[in-house]
Symmetry: C2
Subunit: 325 residues, 2 copies
């Protein structure tokens, strides 16, 4: 009986910031997009949405911004204020505690919004809504957002052993069957690292988000997908990940959270199918992905994957409802 998983204000705890800062793919991409693009930041007013420890705000200040405003509603911002002072940047960086929707900025407009808003499966517990509020309220015409593009990708994996460890476990728990938990485990996408060798179909982008123009309602969507199986194999799960791009940079900065790229703390998201599919090279798996905030608890994400295998071995058709919570 034990849990470190309970915090009213989970971002007040430094452990989560340690994990994010030590995620070098994440932090170095942001640093490069800012520090290597001083021509974009010089003398600009910059808004950092969800500033956390203030690291992005300080990057922007170092890149020559005229003034950086960091906003965060978590208590971590009290530490961020000390950090900004310690690094002699208090004249360049102003940190404001509160909700983006309620806070009053010292400027009517900002030139650049920077934010690290991405959650698991890109959208789970993401802060994108808040970034859009900030954009619509404060971003100057022609202003920039860092990053400006996110793409969501789907593929399939062979994952028999791990599936057995995660789901089969509930069939025999020290001699008892716990099928209701197996059912719950199947419906909950698993955030975990997938080895690239298990991927057995061509990854397909199913959603592209242009942060400069996307509307909140676009984040509830139903989109088709079609992926092609790349070898004779079994499919135990769909997997999804996202890629991030800073296109405004002189040389675009990109990073991927996929299984073919370096580890990030976002890992990948695995959606186990109730049964495994026997697939052959060239088979097509087509279907639709629906993604929407849960109506009762908008923090949760309802994801439906309906799919059809048009293969040599078998036809399979199913529709799976998952919930990230």
């Amino acid at each position: 009986m034990t849990s470190k998983d309970y915090y009213f204000d989970s971002y007040a705890h430094f452990g989560i910031h340690e994990e994010m800062l030590k995620d070098e793919v994440r932090t170095v991409s942001y640093r490069d997009s800012i520090i290597k693009n001083k021509h974009l930041f010089k003398d600009k007013i910059v808004l950092d949405v969800g500033c956390g420890t203030g690291i992005l705000s300080m990057f922007a200040a170092k890149a020559g911004a005229k003034h950086v405003i960091g906003v965060d509603m978590s208590n971590i911002i009290d530490k961020a204020k000390l950090i900004v002072a310690e690094n002699g940047l208090s004249d360049k960086v102003t940190l404001l505690k509160g909700k983006m929707e309620e806070i009053v900025l010292p400027y009517d407009h900002v030139d650049i919004i920077i934010s690290e808003w991405m959650g698991y499966f890109l959208l789970y517990e993401s802060m994108l809504d808040t970034v859009l509020v900030a954009r619509d309220k404060y971003l100057s015409p022609g202003g920039m957002i860092f990053p400006d593009t996110a793409t969501m990708v789907i593929s399939t994996i062979e994952d028999g052993d791990y599936r057995e460890e995660k789901l089969g476990f509930w069939d025999n728990v020290y001699g008892f069957s716990m099928s209701c938990i197996k059912e719950a485990a199947l419906k909950e996408p698993l955030v975990d690292t997938v080895e690239s060798r298990f991927v057995n179909s061509t990854p397909m982008v199913f959603k592209t988000i242009d942060i400069l123009t996307v509307k909140k309602e676009d984040l509830t969507f139903q989109v088709p997908f079609e992926i092609e199986v790349s070898r004779d194999d079994y499919v135990h799960a769909f997997i999804s990940w996202f890629d991030i791009e800073f296109r405004a940079c002189h040389k675009p900065v990109r990073f991927s959270t996929g299984p073919f790229a370096k580890y990030t703390h976002w890992k990948q998201t695995v959606f186990y199918t109730p049964d495994s599919m026997t697939v052959c090279k060239g088979d097509k798996i087509s279907g639709e992905i629906t993604c929407a905030p849960n109506k009762e608890n908008p923090r949760d994400l309802d994801i439906i994957i309906s799919y059809e295998l048009d293969g040599k071995e078998a036809k399979a058709k199913d529709s799976l409802e998952y919930r990230m919570c």
Copy 2:
């Protein structure tokens, strides 16, 4: 920006139960103490405090208990009811949702209390208080508690590399200093796995808890300790762990959560000292450990380690205040 660390009712989530059930040291010890002691459980009324998925209640039913009452305030108990039914034990196991302090049991007295109440550092977010309430209200004279003994142990470690990774990191975070977070990180005990080869002093039991007789006020304590350094080395941290015993069993069942035993999900608790100590074989480190619930937030645990090194190389004396939160 992401977190799975936020749940109002963290025990409603099956992931934490998966971790606990898959901790074989934990679960097999409980199973052995119950299933291998049918003579103790036969025809007995058993109370399972904080029953979770109901696994211990079902062990007790299988061991021949007349009736098992499981109590839990988390929503996981709704799943536990399905599990008990699925395993055909509904006539033997009754599960009640609510707080031990408020709930009305169908019996005035029970013969045996079983509970897996232990938290990190034994007492952090532990349910021992609730077990004591149940004991004082319901346990028959001569009744048993599983487990019945817990001991807390202290030792020291050499841990220069990891200390640098965990604390030194904040000195230079992509070119910025974050000393306020370093300070916070130093004051927060680290729950992590310690390799036994890093232990460089003789472990010493500083607190023994007899669950049958301990009082709530005994869980706030100040006790002396003295440990002897076992090799010429450096000390970077104190570590603590606990051992659990089921002495009522025919053949006592025991398990340790220490670095010399098999991994458990409790790992060990590390208390970094502000500076490293240069120590020689035979040196004595003596001091006092104070442990108390935080006054403002009783969920948190305040731990003070004051110590004195009486060694050949140097005298060191310090007092460190930690907070588990």
